[in-house]
């Protein structure tokens, strides 16, 4: 998205952070990462709430610097 001029944040789990970084390196882009605990898939609504809060907190901190 950033190659189209759009500021983009990527929410990834800590487990998949190395993949995102490796892919970004190959594409020569600096990823704006918001890292949350793994996993996201398979969580019930209660478990997912923590990820939502962490991701929102990460986005807010990153965009209000």
């Amino acid at each position: 998205m950033e190659k189209r001029g759009i500021t983009a944040y990527v929410i990834a789990t800590e487990t998949f952070k190395p993949l995102v970084l490796a892919q970004a390196k190959a594409r020569k882009v600096e990823p704006r990462l918001i890292v949350v605990k793994h996993p996201i898939g398979g969580l019930n609504a209660e478990e997912l709430r923590e990820r939502i809060e962490a991701a929102t907190r990460g986005l807010t901190e990153a965009t209000t610097k």
Binding site: T7, Y9, I11, T13, R27, K28, H38, I40, L48, T56
Partner: protein, 93 residues
């Protein structure tokens, strides 16, 4: 002994810096993009609801790929590039 490097390759062109459109995250339109894995939509919907405490969310829109296993189609990327200044991508694994 001289060997040929099995990883050798010439780096592809690209990586030129592109100027980003200025964005105000408190007011501008934002695209929420799901990789279509289970819970990606729920995660993004939850974030959208939380952002509602601090900003209007009627210009925060949800988009998704038709398949978790395929890259985002070009027309989706073009649509987002044309209509938003910021994007939030969920890689829900």
């Amino acid at each position: 002994m001289r060997i040929v490097n099995p990883t050798f390759g010439v780096a592809a062109a690209g990586g030129d810096k592109v100027a980003l459109k200025p964005i105000n995250w408190a007011t501008d339109a934002i695209a929420l993009m799901s990789n279509s894995k289970p819970n990606a939509r729920e995660l993004l919907d939850g974030i959208r609801a939380k952002l509602g405490a601090t900003r209007a969310v009627d210009n925060i829109d949800f988009h998704y790929k038709n398949s978790a296993s395929q890259p985002a189609p070009k027309d989706l990327i073009e649509k987002v590039a044309a209509n938003y200044r910021g994007a939030l991508l969920a890689i829900a694994d």
